[in-house]
């Protein structure tokens, strides 16, 4: 079918362009936060990230030293210095004296302030203010200028976010939730799937139908009763109701229908002769399962593990219902959601945190894409 359409050169060229457009649209959003997370935090707000390789220019305001800094020189009263003092040196292109006209004078030119007072501001930040009479006042002259800074990339944002914003801690919390919640369901589902695929017993068809039904039950249906149940159990035994054990079991429960469905369809497809010859040789169901079915099912077990890992890692709803919001229990998605509220405009914090949140799924995804796709194809009735 590859050559059914688009035979002409123009057609083939069009296909390349169309795919390129799709890929660009689909990649640019993620690229945006990756690039931004590596930029200097002042530059993030000064220019769009797509301009991050060219110098960013911004309008700044500064104040000259007060009159007390003046010295008398050649019959004039002069204040000299550098507008940047000890800050990083930027390149000034223009300056002005009113906020309405911040770029009225080119850098290096002499501005007339009236009454014979002049101000010269140079590109490197040095200035000379001269007056025929002694300057007065303890507040210095306000100056506006347009500066441009060379592009600066840094990992400072990552240091800030990981160690002082609490993302590092949340990363550990996410791992604490995800790993057990991925491992626990596998074994339980595998035994159930084997029984439903290869053992004959009354009620089997009903159980399979119920599991297929449960595949699409919205998570929302389970939240309130389980919250009540956890609160009740917590009260009864005098233990906290929001615990890691609670969320591990909740994720196990929510993941089981898909796990059983996926594993059962795979196991049911294994050759019947294999089981029968083993049974004739005297193997019990337990032995058949452990020695034959389980090793053969490795690919589908891997598929499920990846699915469950991504689903639990990326989950927000279950985490905010069943875990607390303290730093010892807040997972990455919850933390990111909290940061969106508290650090709304601080894009250096948000982009960096977001990138840390998505990096683990991206690594898992790229290294194990084959298994992930296989699982998708086998289990695409699940609602996600």
């Amino acid at each position: 079918m590859a050559n059914a359409t688009g035979k002409s050169f123009l057609g083939r060229f069009g296909v390349h362009i169309a795919v390129l457009i799709f890929v660009t649209i689909w990649t640019i959003p993620t690229l945006g936060i990756l690039v931004s997370s590596l930029r200097d935090k002042d530059q993030i707000i000064a220019s769009g990230w797509w301009n991050s390789f060219s110098s960013s220019s911004q309008t700044e305001a500064g104040r000259l030293p007060p009159a007390s800094a003046q010295i008398e020189k050649d019959g004039k009263f002069v204040i000299e210095g550098n507008i940047f003092e000890d800050g990083p040196v930027r390149n000034i292109s223009a300056f002005g004296l009113k906020s309405a006209a911040p770029t009225e004078f080119d850098a290096g030119s002499v501005a007339d302030l009236g009454d014979g007072v002049t101000l010269q501001l140079n590109a490197d930040g040095t200035f000379v203010m001269a007056s025929p009479v002694a300057l007065e006042g303890n507040r210095g002259q306000r100056v506006y200028f347009e500066s441009s800074a060379p592009p600066r990339f840094t990992i400072e944002n990552y240091e800030t976010v990981l160690f002082s914003e609490g993302i590092g801690r949340s990363f550990i919390n996410s791992l604490t939730v995800t790993v057990p919640a991925t491992v626990i369901p596998i074994m339980i589902a595998a035994f159930a799937a084997y029984a439903l695929a290869w053992m004959r017993f009354p009620g089997r068809a009903l159980i399979i139908a119920v599991i297929i039904g449960l595949l699409v039950v919205p998570l929302q249906m389970a939240l309130i009763p389980l919250l009540q149940l956890y609160n009740g159990v917590g009260l009864f035994f005098g233990v906290p109701s929001k615990t890691y054990l609670g969320i591990w079991l909740a994720h196990t429960g929510f993941g089981l229908p898909f796990a059983i469905y996926l594993l059962r369809s795979y196991m049911a497809g294994l050759p019947r002769e294999l089981m029968e010859s083993a049974r004739i040789d005297g193997a019990s169901d337990f032995e058949i399962f452990v020695k034959i079915v389980l090793p053969l099912s490795f690919p589908v077990l891997a598929s499920f593990a990846i699915f469950q890992f991504l689903w639990v890692w990326n989950d927000l709803l279950v985490a905010i219902v069943f875990l607390g919001s303290g730093s010892d229990q807040l997972v990455l998605t919850g933390k990111l959601n909290a940061l969106l509220g508290s650090r709304g405009g601080d894009w250096e914090i948000l982009t960096t945190s977001a990138f840390i949140t998505i990096i683990v799924p991206l690594i898992v995804f790229f290294s194990l894409q084959r298994y992930f796709v296989r699982g998708l194809l086998a289990g695409s009735v699940k609602g996600g």
Binding site: T5, H16, M187, I212, P218, I224, N337, T357, P361
Partner: protein, 337 residues
């Protein structure tokens, strides 16, 4: 923190060890209680039969218990709660339901959910199909697919931050650092606060889900397209069909079942959409949806479990037809052998 990691590791060991011990132990116990080897003929046959009756339940038992506690009981309980007041104590009949349909916010949520249902599954399936067809024709198609597929691994919250950055608004005259406003400004338009434009903001939120789910549709449909027998297309080419006819009359009808699966899967996802709305607008500016409204009522003013449960039931009712269809489909398949 160290104790937390330690307890996680201990849980894995205890959990896995416990599961192994249970399955192995229960199985062994059954063999000891009803021995089938080393006993006289009829007794052995009797015991084998008994084993055959019990063993399947040992295997499915743990799964059934967990499913009952975490899914079946909650479904029943949620239905029960939806007929009760905020604490689940007094019976209120259909009061929660009549409240819901009179509530402005609820009706807004229903409207928005319908809008999402009309746009997102269709857009994902269509775009997924287009990308699947196009990438099959070029040498770098696999790389292109991987990149379009990639957002599927990103959490909804992460995706929301990514897109919030694209929609970022700075006052008129300031440098726009949001890509969308920068583009609008480049073409001479005036920047907008996209996510607070009533009605239209829904589409800006939908774009996020479409961005995530197109890769899913693409992968499934691409596999289905590969499964189309080559002969059917060759026959059409010989008969003089043009590419569009081949696509619409030969290829689409053969992958119709897969399109339905993709469509329903994304439909269910859309009904449950929560994280995107919570993080982008939290339902402000008329962008509320059912799942977020339900979450809101679960905790609003100490929590109104009756109303929360009612909203959950309404989401469930919307999923019900798909559930029934899935079960019938599965029964039909298993009836075959």
């Amino acid at each position: 923190m160290a104790t937390q990691i330690l307890s996680a590791i201990i849980t894995i060991i205890v959990g896995v060890g416990g599961a192994v011990a249970y399955f192995w132990g229960a199985n062994r116990l059954l063999d000891i209680i009803f021995p089938s080897r080393g006993v006289a003929g009829t007794a052995a046959i009797d015991n084998l039969r008994r084993q055959g009756l019990i063993r399947p339940w040992l295997f499915v038992g743990p799964a059934l218990i967990i499913l009952s506690v975490y899914l079946i009981y909650p479904v029943v309980q949620t239905l029960w709660l939806s007929f009760h007041g905020r604490n689940g104590e007094e019976f209120v009949g259909f009061a929660n339901y009549s409240w819901a349909f009179g509530d402005r916010e609820f009706r807004n949520s229903i409207f928005n959910n319908l809008l999402w249902l009309a746009v997102v599954p269709a857009a994902c399936t269509f775009l997924g199909l287009v990308v699947a067809v196009l990438t099959d024709k070029i040498w770098w198609g696999t790389i292109a697919k991987s990149l379009i597929f990639l957002p599927l691994a990103i959490s909804f919250v992460g995706a929301s931050v990514i897109w919030k950055f694209i929609y970022e608004y700075k006052g008129d005259g300031q440098t726009q650092i949001g890509l969308l406003n920068a583009i609008v400004q480049f073409f001479g338009g005036s920047p907008q606060v996209w996510i607070s434009l009533p009605f239209w903001n829904n589409f800006f939120l939908m774009a996020i889900l479409i961005w995530i789910q197109t890769g899913f549709a693409m992968v499934i449909l691409s596999a289905a397209l590969r499964g189309i027998p080559e002969e059917t297309i060759e026959a059409a080419v010989i008969d003089g069909a043009n590419p569009f006819q081949i696509f619409w009359k030969i290829m689409i009808p053969q992958i119709w079942g897969t399109i339905a699966v993709v469509w329903t899967t994304i439909t269910i996802l859309v009904l449950k959409v929560f994280d995107i709305v919570l993080t982008m607008t939290n339902g402000q500016w008329n962008s509320q949806v059912l799942a977020n409204l339900m979450f809101d009522w679960m905790f609003r003013g100490g929590g109104d479990f009756g109303r929360g449960a009612t909203i959950a039931i309404i989401i469930m009712i919307a999923v019900l037809p798909i559930m029934v269809w899935n079960i019938r489909q599965a029964n039909r398949e298993s009836g075959g052998h």
